[in-house]
C-alpha cells in the first residue's frame, strides 16, 4: 500500500433521521394547561400516586390513567435534589456561568419535575427541603415547544424558575422517597 492509497481509507457518512410525532393525549393536555399557568398530573385509580405529568398509566400498578384521573396541582413544592453545573465549552452549550439543575416535588405529587432553575437563594444556600414556588412567565412568553413523548416529556418553557418562598424547610420525610 502506498501513502496515496491510505488517503482513501477514510469515509465520511453523515446520517440524519427525522421523526415526526404528535404529543400523546395526556401530554397534550398537560402542555395546554401549562400555557394557562396550571400544572396537572394523573392520580392512579389503584394506588393513588400522582404522576406529573401523567404518563397515561401508573408504572407501579400497570393500570391506564385517563383524563378522568387528572388532578390540578399547586405550583408550590420542595427541592428534593440538585446539582450546580459548571458549563464546559462543548458543542451546543449556551451557558457560560454555573447554573442550577434541581428536582422539585410539587405539593401533592409523587414524581418530581427535573432540571429546574431555583432562584431567591445563592448557590451556596441551595439545599434539599427548600420550599419553592413557580415564577411563571407572562402568558405570551410561555412556550411548550420542545416537549416530547420521550422520557418525562419536559416542562416546556413556561416558568422563569422556581423561587424560594422563605418558608421553613420541609422535613426529610416529605421528600426522601421522591428524590428524582
Amino acid at each position: 500500500m502506498t501513502d496515496v492509497a491510505k488517503e482513501h481509507l477514510v469515509m465520511e457518512h453523515l446520517v440524519t433521521l427525522t421523526y415526526h410525532e404528535r404529543l400523546t393525549d395526556n401530554l397534550n393536555r398537560f402542555a395546554d394547561n401549562l400555557l394557562e399557568g396550571r400544572i396537572i398530573g394523573a392520580k392512579c385509580p389503584n394506588c393513588g400516586r400522582v404522576f406529573v405529568p401523567s404518563k397515561g398509566y401508573c408504572s407501579l400498578c400497570v393500570v391506564p390513567t385517563t383524563e378522568a384521573d387528572e388532578v390540578e396541582l399547586p405550583d408550590t413544592g420542595t427541592v428534593t435534589g440538585f446539582t450546580i453545573v459548571t458549563p464546559v465549552n462543548y458543542y451546543g452549550q449556551t451557558k457560560t456561568e454555573p447554573f442550577v439543575y434541581a428536582s422539585v416535588l410539587l405539593d401533592g405529587a409523587d414524581t418530581t419535575l427535573g432540571g429546574m432553575d431555583i432562584t431567591g437563594v445563592t448557590h451556596e444556600e441551595l439545599r434539599t427541603g427548600l420550599r419553592v414556588k413557580a415564577s411563571w412567565k407572562p402568558r405570551e412568553e410561555r412556550s411548550v415547544e420542545g416537549m416530547s413523548n420521550r422520557g418525562w416529556g419536559g416542562f416546556g418553557d413556561v416558568v422563569h424558575s422556581f423561587e424560594a418562598t422563605g418558608e421553613p424547610d420541609a422535613g426529610e420525610d416529605v421528600y426522601k422517597e421522591h428524590l428524582f
Partner: protein, 358 residues
C-alpha cells in the same frame, strides 16, 4: 429440542394501525395486561420477562427502557431486552424457562413505525461502507429480490398477486388487520401500476404501529393455566451473510436449517404463519420449507391471519406470527403449525417455531 415441555398459554396484540396516537409503552400496557389476564396469572408469578424493540425506530437512545413499565418492574423483576423482533425475545424467554427453576415467562415486542421514515431508518441496518451510504431502502431491496425470483423462473408476477389476494381475503377475518379485502382478486391487483418494479404497492407491507405479548409456562403449570396449551416442540434461528449480494436471495437456506433444528421433520402441518413482509418472500419461504405443493393444493393453510401484508408492526410482526399460530392450536382448529419470524435485509436471519396441540 427442549429439555422440558413449554407451551404458550396466553397472548394478546394490538390492532395494526398506520399511526397510533398513544406512545409505544402506552400501547404495550393494555397488551401485556391482556396477555397476563388471558393466562389467568398474577404478574408477580412471572419468573422472567424479555422485551423486543428497536431504538432506531422509536428515535431515542434507551427508548426500550420505558417499555418495561408495561410489565410492571416494581417490585424488581428479572428481565432482559433484545434489539430485535419480539420473536427473539420469546426465544430468550423460552431458553430461560428450560433452566427449570421458573415456571412462567413473559415476552413482548413493540414498534411504532409511524414517527419515522422507515426507508431512512432501515437503510442504516445495511453495511456502513457499500450499501448504507447508498440509502438502499427495504422496498428497493425487495424489488431486487423479486426481480431475481422472476428471472430464476421460480415465480411470476401473477404468483405475487395471488399471495396478496389471499392475504387480503384472509385478513378480512382478522380483527387486528390493517389491510383487508374480502373480494380481492389477482386480476384487479395486476392492473395496478408498479411501485418498485416488479413490485406493486400491494406487494409491500403497510407501515404499522403495534404491540404483541405472549405468556409461556412449563409442563403441568401450562396444563393448569390453559385447557389446550400450544406446545413449543422446538424453536431455532439461523443467520446468513449480511451482504445480500453474496447469497442466493431467491431461497432461504437459514429458514430451512432453522426449521430442521426446531424439529420439523417434513410431516403434515395444519397451518404456517410466515413473516413474508413482501409477497415474493412467501413463495421463497414456502419453497425453502418444502411446503410449496401443500400450499398450492390447499391442504396447508398459509398465513390465515393475512400475514405481514395485512399488518406490519415491525418488532412485533414476527411474534404475532407465532401467536396467530398458537391461537389456532389453543382454540382447537389446528393441531400442528410452523411459525416464522425474520430480521435483517432480505430474510437474512430467520426463526422457526414448531407448535403442537396435545
Amino acid at each position: 429440542m427442549p429439555a422440558t415441555d413449554i407451551a404458550i398459554v396466553g397472548f394478546a396484540q394490538t390492532k395494526s394501525e398506520r399511526a397510533a396516537t398513544p406512545s409505544e409503552v402506552q400501547l404495550l400496557v393494555p397488551t401485556v395486561t391482556a396477555a397476563i389476564a388471558r393466562a389467568g396469572i398474577d404478574r408477580r408469578e412471572i419468573g422472567f420477562t424479555c422485551a423486543g424493540s428497536c431504538d432506531y425506530l422509536t428515535g431515542g437512545p434507551f427508548a426500550f427502557v420505558s417499555n418495561l413499565e408495561a410489565a410492571g418492574a416494581w417490585p424488581p423483576i428479572s428481565e432482559s431486552h433484545v434489539e430485535a423482533d419480539g420473536a427473539w425475545a420469546m426465544y430468550e424467554a423460552w431458553m430461560r424457562l428450560q433452566e427449570g427453576d421458573i415456571d412462567i415467562a413473559l415476552a413482548f415486542g413493540s414498534g411504532k413505525s409511524s414517527p419515522s421514515n422507515p426507508s431512512e431508518v432501515w437503510a442504516q441496518q445495511l453495511d456502513p461502507y457499500y450499501l448504507a451510504p447508498l440509502g438502499l431502502d427495504p422496498v428497493s431491496l425487495a424489488g431486487i429480490q423479486a426481480r431475481a425470483l422472476l428471472d430464476s423462473g421460480k415465480a411470476t408476477e401473477r404468483d405475487f398477486a395471488s399471495v396478496v389476494a389471499r392475504s387480503r381475503r384472509q385478513a378480512a377475518g382478522n380483527p387486528n388487520a390493517q389491510l383487508a379485502d374480502a373480494s380481492a382478486s389477482e386480476d384487479a391487483l395486476l392492473a395496478e401500476p408498479y411501485f418498485r418494479a416488479p413490485l406493486r404497492k400491494h406487494d409491500c407491507p403497510p407501515i404499522s404501529d403495534g404491540t404483541v405479548a405472549v405468556v409461556m409456562a412449563r409442563g403441568d403449570t401450562a396444563r393448569r393455566l390453559c385447557d389446550r396449551p400450544a406446545w413449543i416442540r422446538g424453536m431455532d434461528h439461523r443467520v446468513e451473510a449480511h451482504q445480500p449480494g453474496v447469497r442466493d436471495i431467491t431461497s432461504s437456506s437459514s429458514t430451512a436449517l432453522a426449521a430442521r433444528k426446531a424439529g420439523y421433520d417434513g410431516g403434515p402441518l395444519d397451518l404456517v404463519e410466515l413473516c413474508s413482509t413482501f409477497s415474493p418472500q412467501e413463495l421463497i419461504l414456502l419453497e425453502s420449507l418444502g411446503l410449496s405443493s401443500a400450499a398450492a393444493s390447499g391442504s396447508l393453510s398459509v398465513n390465515p391471519s393475512g400475514g405481514p401484508l395485512a399488518g406490519n408492526p415491525i418488532m412485533a410482526v414476527g411474534l404475532i406470527r407465532i401467536i396467530e399460530a398458537a391461537a389456532r392450536i389453543i382454540d382447537g382448529s389446528a393441531n400442528r403449525a410452523l411459525a416464522h419470524a425474520t430480521s435483517g435485509p432480505l430474510l437474512q436471519q430467520n426463526l422457526v417455531c414448531l407448535l403442537e396441540g396435545e
